[in-house]
Amino acid sequence: MLSITEVKKTFNPGSVNERLALAGVSLNLKAGDVVTVIGGNGAGKSTLLNMVAGVYPVDEGKIAIEGQAVEHLPEHARASFIGRVFQDPMKGTAASMTIEENLAMAIRRGQTRKLRRGIRSKDRNFFCEQLSLLGLGLENRLTTRVGLLSGGQRQALTLLMATLVPPKLLLLDEHTAALDPGTAEKVLELTKKIVKKHNLTTLMVTHNMEDALNIGNRTVMMHEGRVILNLKGEQRKNTRIPDLLEMFKKASGKAMANDRMLLAN
């Protein structure tokens, strides 16, 4: 489904700010795989997602979605395959536009936009129906500007927008990290529900080790731009958080130096 082969990326090459972000990452996802990605700060988790989404061009390596090479495609051209939710709840929606306008833009993801009415009445019914699944009462606020919603509501809306047209691949970049614990849990529940409903192939970056082991069917650990651990099946089932920390130490030669990850448990 998604195949990432030896992808390398260096930011600001040749300058004092040169930084190796990905040192040759390979990862293969089968259709329906839900893979959580963990790792310390600067491990390259977000960069990996951004490379798949096409935010930056790859230096070396290949990325293919359903066998189609996409590494040469610009970000907007990959949108027909990919749905994304960002860490920052402000990033996934247009604040000055209404809920229905945001959804109307999402329903045309990956299509050529035309000079026709952006919102039609049959769209509205569909939006209401989908919004009611979120259980946040947003279905009664179609014409509310998104800027007036809370971070959690916006993130739930972004999640809905990313999956309104089920994408081939869903990329979640620590999408609950900026929310308060209660809201984060709610959004995570929604995520599980939606992923299950559409059987979405998902790549989810998280800083929460518990989520990393409990959500999905695979866990990938990254360090300094490489995949250092690839857990699945029985082995994953038997792994507990302390084991994960131990594995990290073994594979990287360092203790897990990320307070946020430890504090989250």
Binding site: K91, G92, A104
Partner: protein
């Protein structure tokens, strides 16, 4: 003040209002501080004046002016998106380039007079509209038409993509929109309106002057802000109408100030002060009401500065 002065205010407010609508598209909708406006306004005036001077039909001259503005906008967009020049600089570069181009268009003259030549307003009087009301009629008709077209366009799929580009570029790109294209499109629409306004104004005052666009972006901003403050921007239609109303209010304020005896040469200083006052009003309000950080303006700004 006499009726004729108020009629003048209305005329100017409407004709320059089309320019303000253009500034609204680039500055507010696209969130692109586009300084092409100064040169683009003169470009529209210069092209229409030269063509009318050469004996072309004034309607065709006006249409060509509109297209020329669109092309200027596309150039600025190209500088910004393809050559990755910062928005402000891209606009300034186009503006300075247009200065020379405008002089060439006007045959290396700083001024081109259209006195006693037919223009679109004299054409309108030919169909029976009284000469005194020709400008208002045509100005009002054009402004309503453009406002309606923009209102409709901004609700289409493409129009919404344009708005989203100004609001949250990353988000709309992740939904499959090429934001380079939407930026170029927005700049071309905005500057087309600016040049159209220039053409209408040149025919209104019966001359084109190479310096007539100087400070136009500030006038545009002043009008947009005044309109938003006075009329509000809660809905799209309201925001668009506010822009035109802002333009008329701006002209009214100018007329009053001139009646008080201020020389015309001080107008630009006055306009700058007006914009400074309007833009700093949230801060001033905050200081005087004694609240810190919770004033409405600061919330607006927090949202505006999000990206």
């Amino acid at each position: 003040m006499t009726t004729s002065i108020w009629l003048g205010v209305l005329e100017q407010g409407l004709l320059w209002g089309i320019m303000v609508l253009g500034v609204y598209i680039t500055f507010r909708v696209l969130n692109f501080p586009d300084l092409t406006v100064d040169g683009g306004f003169t470009l529209g005036a210069a092209i229409s004046a030269r063509m009318i001077f050469e004996g072309y039909d004034p309607w065709i001259a006006t249409a060509v002016a509109l297209v020329s503005g669109a092309i200027a906008g596309i150039c600025t967009g190209f500088l910004n998106t393809k050559l990755r020049i910062a928005p402000l600089l891209a606009g300034i570069l186009m503006n300075i380039a247009l200065y020379s181009i405008n002089l060439r268009v006007m045959g290396s003259k700083a001024m081109l007079s259209l006195l006693r030549m037919d223009n679109i307003y004299t054409d309108v009087t030919n169909v029976g509209i009284p000469a005194g009301l020709a400008v208002v009629t045509l100005g009002l008709g054009t402004t309503i038409l453009i406002t309606y077209l923009l209102y409709t366009f901004l609700q289409t799929e493409i129009g919404m993509a344009l708005r989203a580009t100004g609001d949250n570029e990353q988000m709309i790109r992740s939904l499959g929109v090429n934001t380079n294209s939407t930026k170029i499109m927005g700049l071309s629409i905005g500057n087309a309106l600016v040049a159209l306004s220039g053409a209408l104004v040149a025919q209104y005052q019966s001359y084109s002057d190479v310096g007539m666009g100087i400070g136009m972006i500030v006038v545009g901003l002043a009008s947009v802000i005044v309109g938003e403050v006075v009329f509000g921007k809660r809905t799209l239609l309201r925001a668009l109408v506010a822009v035109v109303i802002g333009s008329i209010i701006y002209r009214a304020v100018i007329a009053v100030v001139m009646q008080l005896g201020l020389p015309t040469t001080d107008l630009k200083l006055f306009t700058a002060l007006l914009v400074i006052l309007a833009m700093s009003s949230p801060l001033i309000k905050e200081k005087f009401s004694g609240q810190s950080g919770k004033a409405k303006g600061s919330v607006d700004n927090a949202v505006d500065n999000r990206s």
